[in-house]
């Protein structure tokens, strides 16, 4: 993500391209910073801020992968699954990693230069 201002279309496009769960909040505030406040923007912002992180991700999922199978019951169950994933996220955050903690080998160099 860059610091470039987003208009409303870009905002929704970004959502549709699958922004990460924590990127969502950042994007929302970026939009708020970058444009003159308008009534419906304020409503969008307020609506987003009133939703829990799990609910935001449910909405994001629904927006990206909308399907007739996504009934209210499905979305309710989905929320509980996402809440569990967010608990994992909180657990990882609480671990106390420091800057020097590497994820281990992320890329393997090959001798093959094609």
């Amino acid at each position: 993500m860059t610091d470039a201002p987003l208009d409303r279309r870009e905002f929704h496009s970004s959502l549709a391209k699958g922004a990460g769960m924590f990127g969502l909040a950042a994007m929302t505030s970026s939009v708020a910073r970058s444009e003159e406040p308008k009534a419906d923007d304020a409503e969008t912002k307020n609506a987003a801020e009133s939703l829990s992180p799990a609910e935001l991700i449910v909405r994001l999922t629904q927006q990206n992968f909308s399907d007739e199978h996504m009934t209210e019951d499905f979305l309710t169950a989905l929320r509980s699954y996402i809440e569990r994933n967010l608990e994992y996220s909180a657990t990882l955050d609480a671990f106390g990693l420091t800057n020097g903690d590497s994820p281990g080998p992320m890329m393997v160099m090959s001798n093959d230069r094609g």
């Binding site: 699958g18 671990f95 903690d101 590497s102 393997v108």
Partner: protein, 472 residues
Amino acid sequence: MSVAPEMAFASIVTLGKELRAGTFTSVELTEFFLHRLETIGKEYNAVVTVTADLAREQAKLADRELAEGTDRGPLHGIPYGAKDLLNTVGYPTTWGADSHREQQIDNDALTVIKLRQAGAVLTAKLAMVAFAGGFGYSGPDSSFTGPCLNPWSKGHWAGGSSTGPGTAVGAGLCPFAIGTETSGSIISPAASCGVAGLRPTFGRVSRTGAMTLSWTLDKIGPLCHTAEDCGLVLNAIAGFDADDPSTISEDYHYPPAKTLEPPFRLAKIAGAVDHVLPEVKENFLASLDILKSVAVGGDIPEVSLPEFPYDAVVNTILHAESSAALQEVVLEQSIWELPDPRMHLGAYSTMFVSARDYINALRIRAKFQRALDDLFAEYDALITPTFAMTSYPSDRPFRDYTAGKGLVHLNLRQPTNGAGLPAISIPNGFGEHNLPTGLQFIGSRYEENRLLTIAEYYQSQTEWHLRTPELA
């Protein structure tokens, strides 16, 4: 010449001796097992595709080579089955999913190639939980082939996700099978079906040509009648592969040049029998009594794993990697063709795991890998019951069966799979409904041969692996 019925449950070693003694040919042995796969295999929902034409061709070649004096080793002429996520040219590779029933992939998995080079005969593509259970699943009915039934009790499940390999070996449909494990999928069916299942160290066996569920967790390994057979199969399929960067350059040899001699440095995991079925506890304690005689000082001390958020780490890694590896299933919406609603929820709930969480999970995993390396360096094997219970009924969700029973599986599958450590499960008795219980040995990275030696010692002192089910 004909193949005696008891050969259905014979080890690779025994079959190899009989084959070379001329008791039967590979063609005869192959026909014997093809018949069992076509009849019993389909009745138990263990088989996706019987590869009869290929098997007959490979068996004829095996016989011809032996007659000409070419012996490719212990697997020469021995039939086997492969979990249906290993690519096989000319046959569908379904990944256990209805949506992929017609999938044809035009290259063989490296494991299939290596087994062909070792002279083994591929007789069947075997059933599995859809997508190797990567989206989660709520019960045994999780594959388009239906719930894979347990050889010891047709009303029970085979264990997953390598369901078909478990039942196929346990029911004597093939002398060995190839399964895969991301988080429990070899060990579980091995214990449930009363066979030996070896999960090799991560990187020991190339995954080229196998369905990817998780690049940093997937392993390929054998299910057999004995620990010794597991070593023979691993010897054939292990090795470096430039196409799979996870593979290690270190060679693997079985039998090992230098055998581990007792006394063994053994330990049991603290709390191993605190919340398990009474028969699981009884069988585990009896197993310890046998193993104490070869343990250092005649003692098997209790140890605890270091404290880490294993579940959060391994599940986050699995969610992030599987949602990318299998994204087509969601993007093309074939996920909805899967019968289990748990799979739909599992798939969609992991589509937005954050990059930061994934990287942090990898960072914490690097820490617990080191901590577990330190712990395991002190022992040849840590021992636990493989599961707290025997297998589940085949006709209802898992939760309906376990609710209120107070059973707690020691959660070793996450730390040991997360750290890429090898493990073997072998049968150590029976419990409810005459279903097998399992004994698990977990070891240091690259130390499969230590585990095999200890498991072989246990099997030399017991006869659980020689029991055969009365198939309904």
